[in-house]
Symmetry: none
Subunit: 213 residues, 2 copies
Amino acid sequence: IPFSMDLPLLPSVVMQSVAQNQSLSLSPCPLSPGLLAHTFPQTQTTDLLRGETHRGRRSSRTRFTERQLETLQGVFEATPYPREEEYDSLSALLSLPNRIIVVWFQNARQRKNGCSKIDDVDNSCGDEAQGESQNENSMDLTYEYYTNPDSPVLDSSSHCIESEHLTDNGEPTPVMSKQENTQEDTTYSQANKSLAHVQIKNEISDAEIQRKE
Amino acid sequence: IPFSMDLPLLPSVVMQSVAQNQSLSLSPCPLSPGLLAHTFPQTQTTDLLRGETHRGRRSSRTRFTERQLETLQGVFEATPYPREEEYDSLSALLSLPNRIIVVWFQNARQRKNGCSKIDDVDNSCGDEAQGESQNENSMDLTYEYYTNPDSPVLDSSSHCIESEHLTDNGEPTPVMSKQENTQEDTTYSQANKSLAHVQIKNEISDAEIQRKE
DNA sequence: GTCTAATGAGTTGTAATTAC
DNA sequence: GTAATTACAACTCATTAGAC
């Protein structure tokens, strides 16, 4: 085992599971595992939003990478209540702000609770279903997403994405694609994220992402 | 692995099909910085149309070139659910706005569904070649979109137990962050040190986390 | 007419908020 | 800290309409 070392602050268990990624149960509530499929790396456009947004907008959801999720999940299974230092370690390790980690753990605990709770009750995991639940029968047949996305990509490690410009541009600018921003400003914020990425990757120093307000 | 350098994010399949079509040389980062020139001469007329149509009108249909379709199809067969980066790569590669690609994939999935639905799973619909599987270890399960109208999903048996998710992949150096990081940096730097090997293992390049609030 | 890109309504999981 | 809630992001599915 190449990575025999583990971090001092994190339980070794974690490293193991993370390393082999054995059965970490991400997706607690099974209905559609596929959703978190595409975890997106970085490119937070979130930055600005996150900092300032109390007025009006909430910060945009962080998209964890698979690796981040795996790690988080691994740690979580080992220690649902990490200590401050552990949060810090994770923060550094995953390159995520501390708060995000903390929140993730909160949610994870909640998730877990919810699950076991329903387990007893024999209800669905629906978080949202507390009031007017019951619809599960009526809607039946949800679409089934695929279980596991996963990309062919993998190794090709040498690439270029090199960091650095990661920008502080920020904000989900509905501005999209470099070549064309087509049409409307419907609520599609994903393009911008992508854009940033592509730019970096290709080193296209094209237009900057500006935010429209 | 000659090809993989070019577009790390796309399955090799693509490279093949693309290659035979016309050798695209989009050398991204390392070699020639800043040229996005690619080999794509034409920029769609669609762009213009699309650009203009946003006042209430629906955007005009994109007319994909043959090459674009081939590439899309190739990627689709390999990964019906590309992830963000892959969309980006495609976007850059094909000179199409991200949204268009996303939509194409949605439609492609729909199409495929329709096909299998009409006839049984094993019928020839033309596509359906997904014998891909070149990825890493992940377990046996590949994409499992539903083959039958009836899905096990809602079954009571499926509870929170579960699913293993994936493994992982390598996503291109996560660069990221720079979001707010609360708290002291002292700890994190030390953690950082301690975690160095892990980082390597995970291929997480540690971005600098700065800026605290 | 056919084919299919684009749209929109509806579903789901979950990150982020709020309340406690 | 938990518990409940909200808002988003990614999807499906059904439909509409644009080019042939």
